[in-house]
Every structure is written in structure tokens, then in C-alpha cells.
């Protein structure tokens, strides 16, 4: 089976507060540490697990991003992905959901995938819209928010997380599947994995390779515009007290004062 996983490089959510450049209104990517989206690490783990259980399958990671995104793909390869594709082109800068999905869909279409994994949402953008838009551009069904996935013949069945429990949903293949973050054990690259990653196939595509016009993607194709960036209303700083054995009373006083008891 030909399995794909869409991954993205983002500013490290554990150390960087993601910022927008007030002039360009784009995400600040220079001078900050960039990582493979931790949500995508879970998704890669899910895809590797499925590939191994199916046998006779190939797993390819694909990313649209600047040249630096090859680091994120290298990490995916080191985790156990077989092959990587980076779509990089200056005209792609400033792409919105539709531009991103259109580009990824064009690249995926050339590959005749059986299964395309995405994360339910990215950690920096968290629109959760790219996977559904990819599915629509490719005319494929989408199975979203999966905690478990099994493939039987030409069907996929997932456990889909809901507000109150889960649903069991099935769909024919090919399909787009999104994985709920945290639902699969992370895979840490071993030294051997890192070494072998260097020898794995890595290709790079530009916009013209995909037959897309620059007017359809990037800032030129974006259907939204940021008008301004401002400071959110901060909550007034509260009182911080070190517990000296009377914390319970202090809290109870607060509750009583605000009629919460």
C-alpha cells in the first residue's frame, strides 16, 4: 500500500511563543527554534504502526514549507518513514488553508496514494482545515479525529473521538485520515535511524513541477487578509500567596467573599 503522511515544521511550541511579524503579518520563523510539529510526531507513529502491520507498504512524508522544513522531514525519516518529499517555492509563502491544501493535493495526486495521514490540527495554526480541504481536492473521503485505525481489504475503520465517547466509522480507500494528537506512543529516533535517514530517498518539488499557477497559492491566492495585530485584553493580575499552612482558609475566604459556597 502507498501511505503518505503530511507533516509541518513549526516554531518549537515548548520554547517559542509564536509571533506574527507586524509588517508582513506572517509567522516569525527566523531566529526561533523550529521543530517537527509534535502532533505530527504522533501521526507519523500511527502511520508507521499501520505500515508495519500491513506489510508490503511504503510510507512517504510530505511537507510544504521553506527549505528549513527538510529538517522536519529528516526527523520523520529518522523515526522510520521510508521516503520524503518537500514542496518548496518562494511563491508558496503566505499560503492560506486553500493554498496549502491545493499544493499538497497536487503533489499527492501524482503518487496515487491509498491512504493519507494528517494530524487533526497543527500546533501552530490549529485550523484543522487542511486535511478536509486536501480530501475535497482529491475527491476522497475523510476519516477524522481517529484514536485507532485498522485497515481490512480496501476499507479503513477508525475509532473517532467525540465529545461524549467515540464513534466507529468506516470508509472505502483511498481516504484521508486525521489522527488525534497523543493517541499513539511517540517514536524516538535511534542513532541507527538517524544514520539511515541520510540514505533514504528525498525529493524536492517546486510549483511548476506541480502544474500550479502562482496566483492560486501563496499570498497571491490567499482568501483572507490580516488587518491588524493587537494585544489581547490581559486579565488583571491576581494575588499570589505562598502556602503557610492556611491555604485552605484563604481559598475558602475567597469563595465566601464571591458567594461561591
Amino acid at each position: 500500500m502507498k501511505i503518505f503522511v503530511c507533516v509541518k515544521q513549526i516554531p518549537d511550541p515548548n520554547t517559542v511563543e509564536s509571533k506574527l511579524d507586524p509588517a508582513t503579518k506572517r509567522l516569525v520563523r527566523t531566529g526561533v527554534s523550529l521543530v517537527l510539529d509534535p502532533g505530527d510526531e504522533t501521526t507519523i507513529a500511527a502511520a508507521i504502526k499501520l505500515r508495519d502491520s500491513l506489510g508490503n507498504s511504503e510510507l512517504t512524508a510530505i511537507s510544504m514549507g521553506p527549505a528549513s522544513a527538510q529538517e522536519a522531514l529528516r526527523r520523520a525519516l529518522a523515526m522510520g518513514v521510508d521516503r520524503a518529499i518537500l514542496i518548496s517555492d518562494p511563491a508558496l509563502a503566505g499560503s492560506d488553508v486553500l493554498g496549502t491544501a491545493r499544493t499538497l493535493a497536487a503533489a499527492l495526486k501524482r503518487e496515487n496514494p491509498d491512504l493519507i495521514f494528517c494530524s487533526t490540527e497543527s500546533t501552530d495554526g490549529y485550523t484543522g482545515m487542511v486535511p478536509g480541504a486536501i480530501a475535497e481536492f482529491l475527491g476522497l473521503p475523510q476519516l477524522t479525529f481517529a484514536r485507532e485505525i485498522t485497515v481490512e481489504g480496501s476499507k479503513a475503520v477508525i475509532k473517532r473521538v467525540t465529545q461524549t465517547g467515540y464513534e466507529v466509522v468506516e470508509s472505502p480507500l483511498p481516504a484521508v485520515v486525521t489522527i488525534a494528537s497523543g493517541s499513539f506512543e511517540a517514536i524516538y529516533p535511534t542513532m541507527k535511524g538517524i544514520m539511515s535517514a541520510r540514505k533514504k530517498p528525498f525529493s524536492q518539488l517546486s510549483l511548476s513541477d506541480l502544474g500550479l499557477e502562482s496566483s492560486q497559492v501563496g499570498e497571491a491566492g490567499a482568501r483572507e487578509q490580516i488587518l491588524s495585530i493587537g494585544k489581547a485584553e490581559a486579565r488583571a493580575a491576581g494575588q499570589i500567596i505562598k502556602d503557610e499552612g492556611n491555604a485552605a482558609e484563604i481559598i475558602a475566604d475567597f469563595l465566601q467573599r464571591h458567594q461561591l459556597l
Binding site: 490549529y126 482545515m129 478536509g132 494585544k231 500567596i241
Partner: protein, 323 residues
């Protein structure tokens, strides 16, 4: 001219979902609100929507929407979009609606703004407020003429009554395509929890990894019980398998806005804050005085949850007995 705004209304237990009604009320303030309601219970739900602001309701009471995810709804709304051009599709952010919105956007090349906490028209121009990162907001728009999509964050708007408003009801006569019946729901499993639902609770006591181990979570549950509230959790302990997903509060869990939120052993990661920052009063207990949760707390206690919680449970019981 008044803007025409379509709201997709979801049904939960035979009633319109609260997140849908929040958005419908907002749409009614912005312009002419029209609701779309699909599924076997659609006909019974439709007449009540006038009272929540709808001037018109498009109804298709077909059980296919309940069994097959996303595509039947996308087709039906697409057909409607061929006939009419509303100014805006204002939809609630739920997992089902998100999937529908993403496909509609791709099918009709409609701009998409997600996670909106406010929106308004300045003359002809739509302005949408979207929180970004911890402390910034972005104001965005669709810079073109024609329909745009905005997804609103749950609890961003309140449900309002429009007394006496009666919606015109239009029954849709669409034939659902068999090729769109692909993502089939085979089973629905409810993982029930006791006590008030998190979304409706006016007091929430929430626990995080600072509780140390799953056996200590009962302290959070007990405090919630004595206060008449609901227990919640961070993703860290949900992912660790202490509790089901329905307890999770935050960006990828529930958004809550109780009167009181007590955070116990929670660091206050941005993704957690996203789901509870709107609470009226926040109390945080954490042994690290630099924990980010203190930046949103009205009352912050630097201390050990495992000592403070048992004392607090007793203190609350004692004071309640005196009231």
C-alpha cells in the same frame, strides 16, 4: 443592506446544540440569520429556531445525515450555494462542522477564518477577531465580494432569545447522492461521567499532572462534589490514560466559561489556557511560583495540592454546614 448569514445548526439529543444556538444568536445580531438543519430530527427542531434568531430555516429531515459523515451535508449546502449567495457562513467549531466547512471552502473557493471570538461589519467590511498565541489578537477579513466562512469558538457568544420571532421554514427537496455515502458511522459509544456536564457547570475543579498519580484525582472529584461543580482535566493526564477525553479542557478539548475554575497542579500551557481563560474567577494551586497558570489566576496559591486539597475539602464542608 442587511447581510444574510447562514448558520449550520447541529442536533444533540433531539435538540439544537448549544454551540449552534450561540452562533445563531450572534448571526441574528449581525444581519438576517438563516439556519440550515439536517438529519432525522431536523423537522422537529426547525420551528424552535426562530426564537433563537433565525428568520428562515432550511430543513432536510433525512436520516442519511445521521449515518454518513460530512459529504451529504456538504452536497446539500453546496446545492443551496448554487441557488443563493449569502454573505457569510457562520458555523460553530465542532469536529463534524469543521470537516464540513473545510470541504465547502475547497469546493467553492471560499475564504476561511477559524477560531473567531468576535466579528462585526464595519459598513460593508467584515472584521473578525481571532486570538493568536498567548496574548495577541488578530483582526482578519475576507477581502473579496462573495460568501466567506467563519468558524466561531464555542462560548464566544451567548445564547439569546428573540421572543415571538417565527422562522419561515423551507423544506429542501434534494436527492442525496449515493457516492457521497462513504464515511459510515457503524456505532456510537458513550462514555458516561457523573455530575453536571463540564460545559454547563458553573464551578469546575480541574486537575493536572501535578496530582502525581491517577489515584490522587479523586481529590479533584471530591472538591468538585462538595462545591456542586464538575471535575475537569488537562490533556497531559487524559493522554496518560487517567481519564477519558470528555474531561479534557483546552484547545483540543472543551472550552469552558464557569463562574469559578480551580486549577490543581496545572502548569497553564497556552493550549490549556485557551479553553478556560474566560472563566470569571480562577484559583490556581501549584508548587512552582513561576507556573504560567498564575498569570491568569485571581488567587494563586504556591503550595502542594496533595496537602491543600484535603484541607480545602474539609474547610468547604465545614463552612457549608454553617451557612
Amino acid at each position: 443592506m442587511a447581510k444574510t448569514i447562514w448558520v449550520l445548526v447541529e442536533i444533540e439529543d433531539g435538540r439544537p446544540a448549544r454551540s449552534s444556538l450561540e452562533v445563531l444568536s450572534k448571526a441574528a445580531h449581525l444581519g438576517r440569520a438563516e439556519a440550515i438543519v439536517l438529519g432525522s430530527a431536523a423537522a422537529t427542531v426547525a420551528p424552535s429556531l426562530g426564537e433563537f434568531g433565525a428568520e428562515k430555516v432550511y430543513v432536510h429531515a433525512d436520516p442519511t445525515y445521521d449515518t454518513y459523515l460530512t459529504l451529504p451535508a456538504v452536497d446539500t449546502i453546496s446545492d443551496l450555494l448554487q441557488r443563493q449567495q449569502p454573505d457569510l457562513l457562520l458555523f460553530p467549531t465542532t469536529y463534524d462542522v469543521r470537516d464540513i466547512a473545510a470541504r465547502l471552502s475547497a469546493r467553492h473557493n471560499l475564504g476561511l477564518i477559524t477560531d473567531a471570538t468576535d466579528l462585526r461589519y464595519e459598513g460593508e467590511h467584515l472584521e473578525v477577531t481571532v486570538p493568536w498565541g498567548g496574548e495577541n489578537v488578530v483582526v482578519a477579513t475576507h477581502p473579496y465580494q462573495g460568501t466567506g466562512i467563519v468558524l466561531a469558538r464555542p462560548k464566544a457568544f451567548s445564547v439569546e432569545r428573540f421572543e415571538g420571532r417565527q422562522a419561515e421554514i423551507e423544506q429542501l427537496s434534494v436527492t442525496l447522492r449515493s457516492e457521497s455515502q462513504q464515511m459510515k458511522i457503524l456505532d456510537r459509544v458513550e462514555v458516561q461521567s457523573d455530575g453536571p456536564a463540564l460545559e454547563d457547570a458553573s464551578i469546575i475543579v480541574s486537575g493536572g499532572r501535578g496530582l502525581g498519580k491517577p489515584e490522587n484525582y479523586h481529590l479533584v472529584e471530591e472538591l468538585a462534589t462538595v462545591l456542586g461543580g464538575a471535575p475537569g482535566a488537562t490533556r497531559a493526564i487524559v493522554d496518560a490514560g487517567w481519564l477519558p477525553y470528555s474531561y479534557q479542557i483546552g484547545q483540543t478539548g472543551k472550552t469552558v466559561k464557569p463562574t469559578l475554575y480551580i486549577a490543581c497542579g496545572i502548569s497553564g500551557a497556552i493550549q490549556h489556557l485557551a479553553g478556560m481563560k474566560g472563566s470569571k474567577y480562577i484559583i490556581a494551586i501549584n508548587k512552582d511560583e513561576h507556573a504560567p497558570i498564575f498569570s491568569v489566576a485571581d488567587l494563586g496559591i504556591v503550595g502542594d495540592v496533595l496537602t491543600i486539597l484535603p484541607q480545602l475539602i474539609e474547610e468547604v464542608k465545614r463552612r457549608k454546614a454553617q451557612l
